[in-house]
Amino acid sequence: MKSKISALMDGELGEQDASNVIRVIQGDDDLREEWKAYHLIGDTLRQSSRLSTDVSFSVNQKLKTEPTVLFPKASNIPKQQKHKVFAFSMAASVVAMISAWAIMYNPSYVPQQTLVAENPSHNSNLTAVPVMVSSPTLLNNYPPVEINEYLFVHREFSPGTNMRGQVTNVNNVNEYSERYGR
């Protein structure tokens, strides 16, 4: 079963096989742990900045046990600090003015394109929903299988291209940005 979980993570299973394995994982606590551990190992190997550990239980416990702390109203800010805040805001606004001038008069300045993950509005009914990284249901959100074919044609079977039946490894970018923070 462990090898099947590994194959599922690598996207090597067919649709029928995948849904069978997911069903088995859902009904078995040990296998669910196994699934989480594989993801954690994968994240560590990829040196991902966010590891897919399940912290919800420990955070919940911590919240339950932590006492509520009531702060007095912070009204007595020392005078000197107020000066500081004023000085910093002055400096920031001067910089902002110069920046605005430089942007306006720098002909080569091109605004950075915003990172896009949304879909065209007329397709909103088909939106690929962001899903938790460790959720097996994400498999349903994979793009059409012919993307593999496009990849072969684009890279002309060169080394580094995944072959048919091998790892698909195509992730929805929502998952990607969640995982890598990009």
């Binding site: 990829r46 990172l115 397709n123 088909l126 059409p144 074919e149 684009h154 060169s158 995944n162």
Partner: protein
Amino acid sequence: MISRKIITLFFLLTFGFFHAALAQNLPHSSESALGWLKKMADAPRQHNYSGTFVYFADGHMETSRIIHKTDQSGEREKIEVLDGIPRIVFRNNDEMKCYLPDSKKIYTEKRWFRKFFPNLLPQSFDSINDNYYVKETKRERISDHESQVLSLTPRDSLRYGHQFWIDVQSGLLLKVAVMDGNETVEQFAFVQLEVDGEIHSDSLRPDQSILAQEWKVTDLVTSILKEGELKWQVKNLPTGFKKLVEMKRNLTEKPTLVDHIALSDGLATVSIFIEPIIKDVPAPVPGVFTSRGAINIYVRTLGDNKITTVGEVPVETIKLIGDSVFRQD
């Protein structure tokens, strides 16, 4: 006291800003750096070589063996992928034949526009300086060869950076890294390489064990179209990207032809595939996806058509290129 703080903060912030603004205005690449690129582009047409190289991306490594011969008849090459599903690619100048021994399939194709490790640069690479700042950085030893390291810093955020390790003697590319800022996205590198050794023509042909078997040959027919012949066109492309070719072609498993537009900025290549949405099959899922290494994918629909854009460029660029497609009536 306060005024001194203001002045310090002011200088820090303005310096930071102008530093960032200057980064957008990188100088012209030096002649000697561009000279290295020329040497690198010419090397595969001047030297025989054979060796083993690895591809590394996302914690995945794949080893391949390459034999390359050049003579009066041009360039011939055999690349054998040694890990995972076996795959042997024979290249004879522009023609490509890919053998998949497991499934007994052969894909044949005229190779039009792509360049691959270690033969990465097109013969004319003038546009590279427009889009990248090329700089000599250091010398390093790779696979027992002394190499000159070049860094290619993109002049905007629309493409990835590159690092080239070029064999000082032959000019062959020994290693390449695709960089997203300081992060390496994918790498190719020789782990063993012999340059200018004797290469028998037999080693560049399928051997008897391959020829004796029954294969199913699929010709990836491609018909190259004249400029504007395709009903799909691109407008307002991101800076530096130019159309290489537009064609109608078939894919490995599909019976119908799809439209294919290939673009490049001199180094990065992007493909746009357009095909009608077939009824009775699940609707395409629009969105941006990422594959292994530097590849990003953008799927969108336009009327009854699906537009899939694939390329080794950042997500925002793949989206801009995919959105630039319109129907020409």
